[in-house]
Structures are given as structure tokens and as C-alpha cells.
């Protein structure tokens, strides 16, 4: 209904409770339920209609990046002043947990490694404590798997630990490589042989 240029937006049109379809100057287009419009900062707060449940997406949009918008309807004020309260301790705890989680996730991402290396890291991390030492995967702080992350690239550690890591790497390679591709047949055959010999050794032991 209302389509205005970015410079001619009347803040009063951005009334609380309005359902708007907004297109931004960057090309985003979305619908939202106006929570508030803050004139000093020129920020429009939108709550996106979403799936059932209390959690919704919130957008804080600078109004001067609105290219045009369409009025879709009117609804109730999403915020009830009588129930607006916050648990600051919970907020701080939430942030703390989120930061910790982000740090942990970041440590799992190898920098400057191939996706295959990252996949091997992820596979190893399912059962073993692993970390990155630059581009080298360090397992149990003793076994090191370096590029190209093949069984023969596994070094260090006790023989048992070393064998275990090798086995995981071999199994990973076996699972990931497509044997139908001739290019990798030799590779797969090699690892199958390695794995078979390892199994034999294990059985003998």
C-alpha cells in the first residue's frame, strides 16, 4: 500500500504492531511485525512471523536502508509493557556460554587445511581427543597426523595408539572414497590391504 522512498519515510507510518513487507536497498525482502521504531537511532525493530512457538527472529533495521515497504495489516503490540522484564544474570550467563561455545567451535576448525583434513579431524574427534597444531592433527597429545593425512602420515605415540589412529584414518578413507572411481581405486586397494594386514595382526595378537 504505502511505498515511499528511503528519504521520505514518515516514522509515524512505522507504527507499532504493523505488519510490513519491507525491501531494503541491499536487496533483502522480508515481512515483519513492527516492535518499535526508535527515532534517535533511526532503527526499526521487526519481529518476523515464524513458526509456532515463543521464539522468533528479530530484525533491527536502519530505516534509511528501507527501499520500500508495503503495509500488510495491523496486529497487536508485540511487547506488553506490563510483562517486560529481563533476567540480567541469565543474559550474562547466556553470553558467557555462547562465547565459550564459539571458542570451542573455533578450535575445531583447522586453518589452512583441506576439507578432507577437516573431515578426518572431525572423524577422529568423535572418539578421541584431538586438536590442531597448525595443519597437523594431534591425537591424544601424542599421535600426529600430518598432511596428506593418510595412514602413513600418522606418527608418534605408543604403537597401540598409533595403530588406533591409523585405523580410524583408514576407515575414514574407505568410507569417503568412492571405489567406483578409478582414480581412487589404487588408493582404496592400498588402504584395504593396510586394514587387512592390521586386522590380521590384531587377530594374531
Amino acid at each position: 500500500m504505502a511505498t515511499e522512498g528511503a528519504n521520505n519515510i514518515n516514522p509515524d507510518d512505522l507504527a507499532v504492531g504493523c505488519m510490513l513487507s519491507i525491501r531494503t536497498t541491499l536487496g533483502d525482502e522480508f515481512e515483519g511485525h513492527v516492535v518499535t521504531f526508535d527515532r534517535p537511532s533511526n532503527i526499526l525493530v521487526l519481529q518476523e512471523p515464524s513458526k509456532p512457538g515463543p521464539r522468533r527472529n528479530i530484525r533491527l533495521l536502519k530505516a534509511n536502508y528501507i527501499k520500500d515497504f508495503t503495509f500488510l495489516g495491523h496486529a497487536q503490540d508485540p511487547l506488553d509493557p506490563n510483562t517486560c522484564f529481563l533476567d540480567l544474570t541469565a543474559l550474562q550467563a547466556r553470553e558467557h556460554v555462547a562465547v565459550r561455545q564459539a571458542e570451542a567451535d573455533a578450535e575445531r576448525i583447522g586453518v589452512g587445511v583441506t576439507s578432507e583434513a577437516q573431515s578426518i579431524f572431525d572423524a577422529l574427534s568423535k572418539t578421541l581427543p584431538v586438536r590442531w597444531d597448525k595443519t597437523v592433527i594431534v591425537v591424544m597429545n601424542e599421535v600426529r597426523v600430518s598432511s596428506p593425512y593418510h595412514p602413513e602420515s600418522v606418527f608418534g605415540g605408543t604403537p597401540a595408539a598409533n595403530d588406533r589412529v591409523k585405523k580410524v584414518v583408514i576407515i575414514f578413507l574407505l568410507l569417503c572414497y568412492d571405489a567406483s572411481k578409478c582414480l581412487y581405486l589404487w588408493h582404496v586397494k592400498y588402504h584395504i590391504d593396510c586394514y587387512s594386514s592390521m586386522c590380521t595382526r590384531v587377530a594374531c595378537a
Partner: protein, 470 residues
């Protein structure tokens, strides 16, 4: 309609045109600590944890652990190479902030004040409540001290980055802190932040927080050249955080053992010195209980500790002392339990304390020879069964066909073993009570359920020792 509902919200617009509206402030608070996507004017998108925002006229925000998820047109000083510990996005660069999965307070986020309290604060500004309010909305919002802290404590791996030049934002932060500090002292401050009034303890620190914040904000504005005085107070926390992920040697050993038992601690001969880790995987026979032939399980705890001795009459029941000693964790079986439990069909199960060890046939050959297990005064004769069977044998389940587990759990040895040497033998046919033989032979597939389940086991026959508790 909504605007009319917010008469109290709009009062502060008339009083202080430079501060954000309470609704925006509330929304901002709601997304603190949540992952957000921030679109900037060049089209780039940064994802990070929303840390704080400038509550002054300009709405600059600070992200923690941010990374660029979409490259825009412009050249920014923040690359997409990795994680940025603290990213300051100025108001001028900000286009929109998208937070997903936010629960607005009206949707049920718990808080510390009721609506009535909030209303009272909103309409009658007193110095006490004002102190509280300023503390509350400035604390989590602009905790510039943390920014400062992270920049000084470990500058090699943590950095504050600001899109383009951060000096404007820094100045903004400094001004904001000054205003807030003023409002703390002034009862007639136009701030109306009753929404964020918290309970009493928050207001205690107000002055300190503000002073810290002013100092830290100043140091931020000078771009990490001041604020050395903050290092001392931030260092312990930082070091604690750093040290937290590190594992001690013992825990690492435990982890290594879990992963590779044979490599570290497994030894068929227990005459070797044993570490604490290895000791935790041995059979413990309490020497203070010579006779414990009858098995029972406590429904409350789900496990028990017994020693068995075949030469004792079946119906003699006695708890050994270890039961009490291990009652706290309640997870110790020292020996296979035998006795007057013939009709029982449920196996006794270990509970939590046994470290699951991945099955590695190299370390746990199923045909392992008989092993003498013992600590200096004691010997335990373990039948040539696999370790899995050792674990399963303690359950003294009737011989049944169950799939073998992929992991082996060793009985744990705990406590001192002081007392006379008491070799305890557990020959394959241990004690049976009539009908069903409870065998502990290696060739019998004594098998376990796929996951440890503690099951209460009924004890046949009255037993005066158990009393009403059991």
C-alpha cells in the same frame, strides 16, 4: 494502538532525546548473548555473538567471536580469514541486525521484577531505583571493560576490530559512559529505564561499575593504550579461563587409558607398580569381609559390593564394609555375586564408575589366560574370561544369550586393602543355590545389554540385615 500502550515508554523521548527508546533497549537486551547476523552497508554479513550496543543516539554494536560470512563489495579491515574476538560495528556501517530464535520478554522470559514494580519505577524515579537501572542496563550492554580486558590480556590471539575506523565508536562509548555516570549521581536524570530494574544486589556495584566503565571506555577510545591498570583485575579471570581447558596429567592419563588401555596401564601381572589410573581398573576384594555369599541389590542404589567365597553357606548374608565405603558413589562391585538368588533373571549391573573402554581385541584377547589379580596382600583369581566377561560376570546373570558389548568395563579398585592376605578364588561354577548354575566360564556367552542399566533385583527370602531400608 501499540504506541498508546507505551505511554510510559515514550516519556523518555521527551526527557532525553539522545537515548534509545526503551523498547529498542529491551529488544537489544533480549539478543545479548545470542548469535546474530549483522549486515553492513557494503553488503558484508558478519556473524557473531551479540555482546553489547551503544545505547546512545548512535546504535553501534559489538560482536564477540565474529566472522565474516558474506563478503561485501567494499574493502574492510576485517577479513574473512578467521574469528574476530571482538568486532565493533559502527552505527554508520550498520544496516540491520538479525537475531534468530529470540524470545521476547512478553513471551515469557523470566525476570526479577514484576510488572507492577516495573511500572512503579517507570513513573516514580527515585535515586535508588535509578542507580539500579543504570547499573542494569549499562552493565551487560556496554561492558567495555571486557573489551579492554581481552585486548590487553592476550593481544596475540584476541583483538578488537572495528569496521573501518573505530575511533568514532570509541568516542561514542566514552560519552555514553559519562552520561550514564552522571545519571547515577543525579536523581533527576531523564533516563527512564525502569524496564530494566533489577533486584537489589545489582545496585551495590553501581559506582564501581561506572567508574570502571568510564576508565575502560577511555582506554578503548584511545585504542588500547591505556587501561593497564585493568590488567591486574582481569588477569586472574583470564588465566583461569585459559587454564580451565587444560587437563591435568591424571585426567589426561585417564583419558588416554580410556582410549588405549593396553598402551598405558594394562598389565597382566599386577605385581607391577600401579598408577591411580590402573588401580581403578582392577578387581577389588575387600579383605574385611570374609563371607559374603548372598547377593542382593538395593533398589535405591542399584548396586552393591560383595565378596564371594564358595565355602560359606549360601544363606549367610553379610554386607562387607566396602558397601558403606562405596555407598556414596554406589557403583562398586568387587566380586561376582552369588548366593540365594537363583530365580533371579535380571543381571546386576554396574553403574557409573567404570570407564568404558573401547573394545580393542589387541588389548583384550578373548582367550586371555588366567590372570592373577591382586594387590600385595591379596590375590584374586580371575578366570580366563574376557574382560567383558569379567564385567558381565559380576552380574551373575543366568546364562543367557545377549550380544557382547563393544566396550569393556573394568571393575574398579578402590580404597586401601589392609588386612591379611586373603586369596579369593572364583572358580567357574561359583555358588549356586539349587536350580540354576551361575557359571563364570569364558566360553559361556555371558552377555550384557547394550547399555548399562541399573535394575533393582529382588532378593528372595527375608534377610534381617537389610531391614526396612532394603
Amino acid at each position: 494502538m501499540g504506541c498508546r500502550n507505551r505511554d510510559s515508554f515514550t516519556e523518555d523521548h521527551t526527557c532525553s532525546s539522545s537515548s534509545l527508546s526503551d523498547a529498542l533497549l529491551l529488544t537489544t537486551m533480549c539478543i545479548v548473548g545470542l548469535p546474530v547476523d549483522v549486515h553492513v552497508k557494503d553488503g558484508s554479513v558478519y556473524s557473531g555473538i551479540f555482546h553489547t550496543a551503544s545505547v546512545h543516539a548512535d546504535y553501534g554494536i559489538v560482536l564477540k567471536k565474529a566472522r565474516m560470512t558474506k563478503k561485501g563489495k567494499g574493502n574492510t579491515n576485517v577479513g574473512n580469514e578467521g574469528l574476530v574476538d571482538t568486532l565493533v560495528i559502527l552505527s554508520g556501517d550498520l544496516v540491520q541486525v538479525v537475531a534468530k530464535g529470540v524470545m521476547l520478554p512478553a513471551d515469557g522470559v523470566g525476570g526479577n521484577i514484576t510488572g507492577d514494580d516495573e511500572e512503579a519505577v517507570a513513573h516514580s524515579v527515585c535515586s535508588e531505583s535509578k542507580t539500579c537501572e543504570v547499573e542494569n542496563h549499562t552493565g551487560p550492554l556496554m561492558d567495555a571493560k571486557q573489551i579492554n580486558q581481552s585486548s590487553f590480556d592476550s593481544p596475540q590471539d584476541e583483538k578488537i576490530q572495528s569496521l573501518n575506523s573505530s575511533h568514532e565508536a570509541d568516542t561514542c562509548l566514552g560519552q555514553e559512559v559519562a552520561v550514564e555516570h552522571e545519571s547515577t549521581d543525579s536523581t533527576s536524570s531523564p533516563f527512564d529505564n525502569g524496564l530494566f530494574c533489577n533486584n537489589a544486589p545489582a545496585s551495590v556495584k553501581t559506582d564501581d561499575r561506572c567508574s570502571e566503565r568510564s576508565t575502560s571506555a577511555e582506554s578503548v577510545s584511545t585504542n588500547s593504550t591505556h587501561g593497564v591498570d585493568l590488567i591486574s583485575e582481569s588477569q586472574p579471570a583470564r588465566s583461569a579461563e585459559i587454564s580451565a581447558p587444560r587437563v591435568t596429567d591424571s585426567s589426561r592419563n585417564a583419558k588416554e587409558f580410556k582410549l588405549n588401555p593396553a598402551a598405558k596401564t594394562f598389565s597382566p601381572s599386577f605385581t607391577n607398580p600401579m598408577s591411580a589410573t590402573s588401580a581403578a581398573n582392577m578387581v577389588y576384594i575387600p579383605n574385611s569381609s570374609p563371607v559374603v555369599p548372598v547377593a542382593s541389590i538395593q533398589p535405591e542404589v542399584g548396586f552393591n559390593t560383595f565378596a564371594s567365597r564358595p565355602s560359606v553357606p549360601v544363606k549367610v548374608a553379610q554386607y562387607n564394609n566396602l558397601t558403606v565405603g562405596n555407598g556414596g558413589s554406589g557403583s562398586q562391585f568387587s566380586q561376582p555375586i552369588v548366593g540365594h538368588v537363583a530365580h533371579r533373571t535380571q543381571p546386576l549391573r554396574y553403574a557409573t564408575h567404570y570407564t568404558p573402554v573401547l573394545s580393542e581385541t589387541a588389548y583384550l584377547p578373548p582367550s586371555s589366560p588366567a590372570v592373577m589379580v591382586g594387590r600385595s596382600p591379596q590375590l584374586v583369581y580371575v578366570q580366563p574370561v574376557s574382560h567383558d566377561l569379567i564385567h558381565g560376570a559380576t552380574a551373575v546373570a543366568p546364562v543367557s544369550a545377549r550380544p557382547l558389548l563393544n566396550h569393556v568395563q573394568f571393575p574398579k579398585q578402590q580404597g586401601g586393602t589392609i588386612g591379611p592376605a586373603m586369596p579369593v578364588c572364583v572358580p567357574p561354577p561359583v555358588l549356586t543355590s539349587g536350580h540354576q548354575p551361575f557359571a563364570l566360564q569364558s566360553h559361556i556367552p555371558l552377555l550384557q545389554p547394550g547399555f548399562p542399566v541399573t535394575r533393582p533385583i529382588s532378593v528372595p527370602g527375608p534377610n534381617g540385615f537389610y531391614g526396612t531400608k532394603f
